[in-house]
Symmetry: C2
């Protein structure tokens, strides 16, 4: 369903060029569960942003469900981002002046749900991540791990079939982190496709395949258990 | 050097009251190394903000080097925050429009260093966290783990004797995380006082004492190895 071929990403910084990705190729089928690992700065978030159609490569190809992403219209891309893919950002990206509930309802507004249905789905998503008691809080009235969970709830609320999560448990204690991993495991069992960036081996152990990045390149890609 | 007694923190949210801290007491001597652990939302960051003189309790006492913090002048408090304590925020709090180098120099401007000395100290601090090659980047041109390391460098650049770090390795791979823990271990060996909030047991193992919070209360406080 996802196929990137020789993707590079370069940033020009004055006279210097930063090679965030130096040519990565990856094929992911429907209902796979991958963990992406690698040192800080190795290109994981950059690669995830490509996969989530949030950024474009400097060179290389990206085929999403067989179709070349670079030839898609803005509407087609917006549709993928809103309906097909749920993205949990490493830095959460919550709207600071909206409540937790409003933040989680946002993808449902784009998807055209009625106010009643939106509220119901958003409330359920928040309960699934243990935040039923924090729905009226704004992001700066939440703990770090609570904000992370709002970002997760928002990514899952529109029932996407592909979940891209960039360090979803980085701010969570082990037990809450396990609850989130159980959530992802259930979604995988329901036939969805999961890609998780993590730096913790315990978290990576839940996945069925581990892709390791180093310095903008894939250094290994192996199935496990 | 740090003594909080029966500290509470309440937030009024309309008709509800959120009890972030329900009465915590903690005594920390010079040259101690503590880890603070506990579930998401249990009050760790709230307690750290109290200790860092960044927030005031709803009730209870805070004595810093024997002196009652609530009776200090604004200048005395600013002095503590700038010279005595280095604080690594869970959400980094970097200035988005300044470069990495400028962000790290900031505490040195308040401390009255000359431009030449500021630059030298800031450059060294950035090399210590492995960011010598990213000094001209702005925060949004850095990876998540790189931003975290800028926040760490900024906290350490003015050689504070007390380091309060809220999840300093949450976005770092194991190896980079170990390098940061080694940095803290060296600072501890030099006689400084270290308090680290973490949710990872491997990170907590570096400390000599573990304080566990649950629901706004201290549930255990024990020395180890
Ligand atoms: N400004 C605020 N208004 C209302 N409630 C708040 C505010 N700030 C924090 N809280 C609440 O206080 C509680 C403790 O927050 P705190 O940030 O200290 O938790 P934490 O232990 O650091 O959690 P985490 O591990 O998720 O970072 C949380 O339940 C949070 O929702
Ligand atoms: N806008 C930008 N301009 C210049 N360089 C950038 C930009 N964004 C990212 N980079 C660089 O690209 C490299 C890869 O960044 P990326 O965010 O993908 O790393 P990462 O593997 O997610 O790291 P982490 O584990 O720390 O989150 C980093 O070295 C970073 O400094
Ligand atoms: Mg990243
Ligand atoms: Mg916190």
């Amino acid at each position: 369903v996802i196929e990137i071929e020789n993707v590079t990403k370069l940033y020009k910084m004055g006279a210097e060029i930063v090679h965030a990705l130096r040519g990565v190729s990856l094929t992911v089928r429907r209902n796979e569960y991958l963990a992406v690992m690698g040192p800080s700065g190795s290109g994981k978030s950059t690669m995830m942003n490509m996969l989530g159609c949030l950024d474009t490569p400097t060179s290389g190809k990206y085929h999403f469900t067989g179709k070349d992403v670079s030839s898609m219209t803005d509407d087609e891309l917006a549709d993928i981002r809103n309906r097909e893919i749920g993205f949990v950002f490493q830095t959460f990206n919550l709207l600071p002046r909206s409540t937790t509930l409003a933040n989680v309802e946002l993808p449902l507004i784009y998807a055209g749900y009625s106010p009643g249905d939106r509220r119901e789905k958003a409330v359920k998503a928040l309960h699934d991540v243990g935040l039923g008691e924090r729905m009226g809080h704004k992001p700066n009235e939440l703990s770090g791990g609570q904000r992370q969970r709002v970002a997760i709830a928002r990514a899952l609320v529109n029932n996407p079939s592909i979940i891209l999560a960039d360090e979803p448990t980085g701010n969570l204690d082990s037990r809450t982190g396990e609850e989130i991993m159980q959530l992802l495991e259930d979604l995988y069992a329901q036939g969805n496709t999961i890609i998780v960036v993590t730096h913790e081996e315990d978290i990576a152990r839940h996945a069925r395949r581990i892709v390791r990045l180093r310095d903008g390149l894939i250094e290994s890609d192996a199935r496990q258990q």
